[in-house]
Amino acid sequence: MIEQIKKIRWSHYIAYIVIGLLLLFFAFFGPTDRSTQFMLEKIAISIILAVSLSLVVGFLGELSLGHAGFMCVGAYLGGKASVILQSSLGKDSVWNLILSLLVGGLVAAICGVIIGIPALRLRGDYLAIVTLAFGEIVRSVFLNSSDSSFGGTLGLSTPRYDRNSLYIYAFVIVLITLFIVQNFIRSKHGRAVTAIRDNEIAARSTGINITKYKLVAFTISAFFAGIAGVLHSFSNYTVQSATFGYNYSIEILVMVVLGGMGNINGAIISATLITYLDTKLSTILTGDRAILQNLIYALVLILIVIYNNAPALKSFRERYNFKVLFNKMFSKKDPSHRADDAAKWDVVPTKIEMNEILSVDMKPQNLGSDKPQKGGDK
């Protein structure tokens, strides 16, 4: 029994431990070359974005293609705040960082509430296009701003934070993000959110306040996207609206999907790997070979998604995956024979499966309906 509790704890907190140790490591032997520092900043930003989007896509089950829009709001507002604050607080003051982060995050959170309202009425792909539209509208507003307010077409000039400490702060913020998002998900509120994902009507019938939880999920997600945006403005000299197009939202979505839906640790790993590869590819493939970057990215994306999701490859995947290889290396036990499911706590069955299970269970209620939707209804 005690053994089991320990196991749960470890798998929950492994991300904190790894990042915490990394932080300790940075504090004493931090890299001094700037390409590594820049990359670490980017990785931290990607992790925050992926974790926050994972809350909406993985746990609430709504497709959002406008995450970069929230980031855009955070980057511009937080960047503007830091421009104003730096004169009184100093460019590299921690208070400047904290206050700007709060400003950017809170304004983005307000946008999250605004975009959460249509989310109450719309579903699936309709919501996806509305979030995409939101992102493009935000971008267009900042692009057409006057030069004195948000810099217009050339973008907002922001002070770049001291590069020797920014990446450390960035990872501290990653830890805070993880702490808040993980705790939210594991609280009763988080369970309510996953219940909405698995079946909204069933969730409502058990007394869950759908409106409240959808809005809360969107708001938290937008808040951290805004935080990531502020970090972006601190790690660059200019904030340009072109950065935050729908392609960026898609990139974040790719991180979440490749990491495994509703799997925070997976999102962290895939955000790290994708950002790392992206940076490395762009420095290795230069000059005439630059075009290969996109080609490789596209091919890898298609192959990984097919490998991870194709129903035909299911048995192959179960035989050769990281967990099995890992267990082979460290012990002879196969994880599928283990009784506990605690290690897989985050990995919940997909929506479709849940729907089918429920529709079989509650068959009598369906008799009066006109058109059956799923094979299971018959």
């Binding site: 497709l63 719309l122 080609l295 994306l301 309906s369 799923k374 094979g375």
Partner: protein, 316 residues
């Protein structure tokens, strides 16, 4: 509002131009806007039809649809180097169909039954793949190709580009043909069956895989026609040709109600009008995209499944 302004103007200008003349001017202006709107909207509608077909049957957002347009336009460019426009158009349709079917077989079919999000990501991957392949093959500079110059005609003092009428006519014909095809033919009815319930359709002896392949073939041939329209309007093709039209047509399809064929037409034309009116007003011209997307949001808030989208009852 407009007319009272107009009266003021004519009074102030000392009656230089008569009221009737001014009215005729306004009328001509309106007709021009309508014609331009129809011309832009017709292309959007054509792309949106493809989106809607694929979405209705395969239940997936084919993000690579816009890039099929680019493939079609490049195909026309290549064939035009050695042959005449008719051959080029036919070749482009064939190439697009082959490309669409190939993409479906290689990238989407293995994922049938997997989560819709996985299919969406693959579609995005395919889109990136097509764009970078096009740049590798054709280079980064836009290619210029004049397919055919229809010229222009004057109607009631309004200049109308003939291809605008051609675009519109073809789009309407295609829309009607598609509707009839889906309603009347065996394959069409099988499509409806597949879109309603894949499992049940299969039990009824419909080969679901074949039906989806046919859908992709039709969608891709529509993309080829859209590519042709683009070339008629602006004789240039580059590897990012289809990116923004793809998104706009997706918006149009959603406004009309995804899955509805007349809806796609309606959404496309509406977007076309909005775009043309916005471009005419200097102050709001830079915000054209934002306005279009705002209209989308407002429409969806009022009608969550678009103008003609089917409301599906949610079942437990």
């Amino acid at each position: 509002m407009n007319i009272s302004n107009l009266l003021d103007c004519s009074v102030m200008s000392g009656g230089g131009a008569s009221f009737g003349d001014k009215l005729a001017d306004i009328g001509r202006e309106l007709i021009t806007i309508i014609i331009n709107g129809l011309s832009v909207g017709g292309i959007y509608a054509m792309i949106a039809l493809g989106y809607t077909m694929v979405y209705g049957i395969a239940k997936m957002l084919n993000f690579a649809h816009g890039d099929i347009i680019m493939v079609g336009a490049y195909a026309i460019y290549v064939v035009m180097l050695i042959s005449n426009p008719i051959v080029a158009i036919l070749c482009s349709i064939v190439v697009c169909i082959l490309m669409g079917v190939l993409i479906e077989k290689v990238a989407y079919k293995p994922l049938r039954g997997a989560s819709p999000l996985a299919v969406l990501i693959t579609a995005i991957g395919v889109s990136y793949l097509l764009q970078s392949l096009a740049q590798i093959i054709f280079g980064s500079d836009p290619k210029f190709v004049v397919v055919y110059d229809f010229g222009a005609i004057n109607i009631l003092g309004v200049r109308i580009q003939v291809f605008t009428l051609v675009t519109l006519a073809v789009t309407v014909v295609v829309m009607v043909a598609l509707t009839l095809f889906v309603k009347m033919t065996r394959i069409g009815r099988a499509m409806i069956a597949v879109s309603e319930d894949k499992g049940a359709a299969q039990l009824m002896g419909i080969n679901v895989n074949n039906i989806i392949t046919v859908t992709f073939a039709i969608g891709s041939s529509l993309a080829a026609v859209a590519g042709l329209f683009y070339l008629l309007k602006a004789p240039t093709v580059s590897n990012t040709l289809g990116a923004m039209p793809g998104i706009k047509a997706f918006t149009a399809a959603v406004i009309g109600g995804i899955g509805s064929i007349p809806g796609a037409m309606l959404g496309g034309l509406l977007l076309g009008f909005v775009e043309c009116i916005a471009a005419k007003i200097t102050v709001i011209a830079p915000y054209t995209d934002a306005i279009e997307f705002s209209i989308l949001i407002i429409i969806l808030l009022v009608r969550p499944t678009g103008f003609l989208g089917k409301k599906r009852r949610e079942k437990v």
